[in-house]
């Protein structure tokens, strides 16, 4: 079993964060989203992984993952170039996969329970493919699968008006080698892409059994800023958080807090977990860091009230205002305007930024 990890896409819904890097490297609980996928693949016994690159972030992704040895896996890079669809991405991996089966994992997805059960379920039968499903409240917004009592997929419908089930396809699939011949027969859809759902549908029409596995724990597609915050909250809720850094006497630290050994919480600061604070970051006196916040490396918080937020790193935040539900890109600084005249906020804001003041 091989792994194909999709790491292309423009990340347009995550601008301006993705102006400077690929969406798969946005950190959740101080770890790039893509690393969760690598860990899930490894845990499922998949150690030969093809990482499919688009136009954006090729160098950054290779710099982070390298040859995979630091994760105990072996990585081959596959350059898809134009985003011609998920089935095109899979097709680009044909020489890498060879005669094997493979797991295809969308690199901006993150899920609680990993993929071992999905892979095992696929391997227990003679299936053309296996798909991960999750129950959703709004099935008209998703690709939906109809399944029989044994969990075999009988039908796939894209955003149905009258959904037969509430089981949505999430971004993780297992494919037999048969999919490659199917992809070769596919035609681009109305949007000019080779659709993975068309590939699965064709496998089904060819008489292949399609296995399904309902993912019980949470699952998040981290395509939008609010999804990053939500994923951050979910991961911080579950993760073991270790206090290894310095907590000065006179600091108030409550709940579960991950504090890197080089990070500091100074006297007069309050940190209420779950919170993650990365290397070389300092929480100064008068600062409040509230639940579900991750503070990336090399950041200094000077008297701010910050909660339910992700600070990617290299930031100085000294505003006396409260910052909540926010995503701050690398090197973003938020100062204070209290003593400045004329009264008012001062902004230097990048393209596609979103502010609520």
């Amino acid at each position: 079993m091989k792994g194909v990890l999709l790491s292309g896409g423009t990340g347009s819904r995550l601008r301006p964060i993705t102006h400077t890097g690929p969406k798969q490297l946005v950190p959740v609980a101080n770890k790039p989203v893509l690393e969760y996928a690598i860990e899930d693949l490894k845990e499922a016994g998949v150690t030969e992984i093809g990482v499919v690159l688009g136009h954006k972030g090729r160098e950054e992704i290779q710099e982070l993952l390298g040859d995979g040895s630091k994760y105990g896996v072996d990585i081959t890079y596959i350059v898809q170039g134009n985003p011609l669809g998920l089935a095109h991405a899979a097709g680009c991996a044909r020489d890498f996969v060879g005669d094997d089966d493979f797991v295809m994992y969308l690199g901006d997805n993150i899920l609680k329970q990993g993929i071992s059960e999905l892979v095992e379920s696929f391997q227990q039968g003679d299936y053309g493919a296996g798909i991960a499903l999750q129950e959703v409240d709004n099935p008209t917004q998703f690709g939906i699968a109809n399944v029989d009592d044994d969990g075999n997929v009988t039908e796939l419908i894209e955003k149905p008006d009258d959904p037969p089930t509430n089981l949505a396809l999430i971004g993780i699939y297992v494919f037999s080698n048969a999919v490659f011949d199917v992809i070769e027969r596919l035609e681009p859809s109305w949007r000019g892409e080779l659709e993975i759902t068309d590939a699965i549908q064709t496998l089904l029409e060819d008489g292949n059994a399609i296995n399904s596995h309902v993912v019980r724990g949470w699952w998040k597609d981290t395509g939008k800023p609010e999804d990053i915050l939500e994923a951050n909250r979910l991961v911080l809720e579950d993760k073991d958080l270790a206090r290894e850094g310095r907590i000065d006497p006179g600091a108030t630290v409550q709940g579960r807090v991950e504090l890197h050994e080089t990070a500091t919480i100074e006297a007069g600061a309050t940190v209420r977990g779950p919170v993650s604070i990365a290397e070389n970051s300092v929480i100064e006196s008068g600062t409040y860091v509230g639940p579900y916040t991750s503070i990336g490396p090399n950041s200094t918080l000077e008297g701010v009230h910050l909660e339910n937020s992700v600070v990617i790193g290299d930031s100085t935040i000294s505003t006396t205002g409260k910052i909540v539900d926010s995503l701050l890109g690398r090197g973003a600084n938020v100062g204070r305007a209290d003593e400045l005249l004329p009264e008012g906020r001062r902004l230097v804001v990048g393209e596609n930024s979103q502010l609520k003041l």
Partner: protein, 59 residues
């Protein structure tokens, strides 16, 4: 749709034909690889097929 790829002989990075064709001659996208990859590295048959079906590999 037929998907044509080329594997860098030096580092093993796999590059799609649409990527090779868009620049004809390119430095291998493998991070520390110095190889030069060319559309001409594909077989004659692959090049001809790609050129005859170029439109479907564009957006």
């Amino acid at each position: 749709m037929r998907i044509i790829t080329h594997t860098c002989p030096q580092c093993g990075t796999i590059v799609s034909a649409n990527e090779l064709e868009s620049s004809r001659v390119m430095k291998c996208p493998g991070l520390s690889c110095e190889s030069v990859l060319r559309f001409d590295d594909l077989s004659d048959e692959e090049q001809e097929f790609f050129v005859n079906h170029r439109e479907q590999y564009r957006l």
